[in-house]
């Protein structure tokens, strides 16, 4: 569904907050930047960001805003704000709750590509804007199947999905970097 009239976004914009973004930059900036969301930036900084930079990808991570009355709308706003502040069209990577936020952000920002790790079963009913290529990763389950139908792609199954919240587990990261090398890397 296309939504052009966004009365709520116009009349009640999300209240801005200070955001924490951690980054790791490669020596030579060739590819679209990556933006990781869903966990504190520190979580991604610990192992993932440097590995991305080593493989030639500028990588950024956004710490979710705290607060009791913070929902998908606020997180989506923050993701799009950071993505739009990057020099080029970004690749959004959603991990844990971040998968839901990235799914929402795809209806507001034309990402270069998106990776949803453990996507939720309930996805936004608005159309994806732009021409983002989507990669779905996770353990077998309803979420992955539903997301596969929604984005019309074949999901990638992980053998040990329970270790996903372990930042030292580099296996899914290497897989998604391989996918990015093949699909969105600049030749």
């Amino acid at each position: 569904m296309i939504r052009v009239l966004r009365t709520r976004d116009w009349s009640r914009p999300v209240r801005p907050v200070a955001r924490e973004v951690r980054s790791a930059l490669p020596g030579e900036d060739l590819h679209p930047p990556l933006l990781f969301v869903g966990r504190p930036a520190e979580f991604f900084a610990e192992h993932w960001l440097d590995r991305c930079a080593e493989r030639g990808w500028a990588a950024h991570a956004l710490t979710p805003r705290p607060g009791r009355f913070v929902g998908v709308r606020e997180h989506c706003h923050d993701v799009v704000q950071v993505a739009a502040s990057l020099p080029r069209q970004a690749v959004l990577v959603g991990h844990g709750p971040g998968a839901r936020w990235v799914a929402a952000a795809l209806t507001r920002y034309p990402a270069k590509a998106a990776v949803l790790i453990d996507p939720p079963a309930k996805l936004p009913d608005e159309d994806v804007v732009g021409r983002a290529q989507v990669l779905l990763v996770g353990g077998a389950g309803r979420g992955l199947t539903k997301a596969g139908e929604h984005y019309r792609v074949t999901p990638t199954l992980l053998s040990e999905p329970r270790r996903l919240s372990d930042p030292s587990w580099l296996y899914p990261l290497e897989g998604l970097l391989d996918w990015l090398d093949q699909t969105v890397a600049k030749p």
Partner: protein, 416 residues
Amino acid sequence: MKNLLEHGFAVDCYDRETGIGGAWNIRHERSPVYSSTHLISSKPMTQFPDFPLPDHWPDYPHHSQLLAYFERYAEHFGLREHIWFGTEVVSADPIENDRWRVRVRPAHGGTERELSYAAVVVANGHNSQPRTPALPGIEDFRGTVIHAGSYKDAAVLRGKKVLVVGGGNTGCDIAVEAAQQAAACWHSTRRGYWYAPKYVFGRPADQVNDGAQWLPLRLRQWAFHRVLRLTVGDLTRFGLRKPDHKVYETHPIVNSQLVYYVGHGAITPVHDVKRFNARTVEFEDGTEAEPDLVVLATGYAPRFEFLDPGILGANPPRLWLHMFAPRHPTLAVAGLVQPDSGQFPLVHWQTQAIARWLTLRNTNPERAAQIWAGAADRAEWRWTKAKVSATERHWFEVSHVTYLKAVESLLKELTA
């Protein structure tokens, strides 16, 4: 351009200026922007819906910030490599199979080149060609007369006696600057206006207004009148005229400061100009002024000097949704609307519709022909909610909600 590229088209963009930003780049020859220009619509109503203005910018950014925003947009989506800067389009003529022969040349002289394109999108703006009304006796006037288009900085007003002609947003801005800098300021308007403040209830006024879109128009008009009456009060007490129209019936004037300076006596409101004499100016209400500088804030007119006049229809152009020329399915105009909100969300959805329309013509010509069949009749439609005043300036005014609803249903039709 970004939306066409996104839909897989190869795009060449010709711009007679040498940088991004068009009218919003104050260094450009035809830019109407002056050093104090700020937006009159707040951020959410102004930004491209898929590329937000930064959170740390103010509610109503300065024109230089808007230029920075356009430069970042071009960088972000890799548009620069598709733009031929410093190149102007001399003519665009329809040839066989709905294709276009386009002649271009360097803006400051040089050899012309002739190219052929499958479609042409016109996006040259409508604020670059100053419009000057016939003012009796102006040739006898000994003072200086400039058009607001060449007004750049309040320094030219300092210590002068200034007459500002025109009650639009630019006219009001300049009158306020004259109140601050000049020795005297007269402000001549054809009619009374509603001066909407930038903030009501501590929030940008346009956001408050859009939050009330579910209310019927008449109720909103009543509430708006009520709020202005309670906060600003009776404008006729200041010597300003009573508006001859309801609010939302003309492009809004957003200015919190004008009434304030009228109240200080720093601006003297006067009626329409009757005639110019050598030293003085007479007004319809019988008063006179003796200015050294006259600033004509009398607006701009859209111009399409590279198109044969018949192509867009009579003057003013008759275009379906202010975009499509009924006889030329591969010609589209973007940005020829004056909304009661920010301009850029409308232009974004217009260009999405143009890109999808051109895509559909390739993928499903029968369906495209069906949709097109009704275009000629619909070119007469207008997309305003309130009854818009019919002066020459107001023909492409639209109400953003009504207009976007129409574009939304077109987008749905094109993607179904």
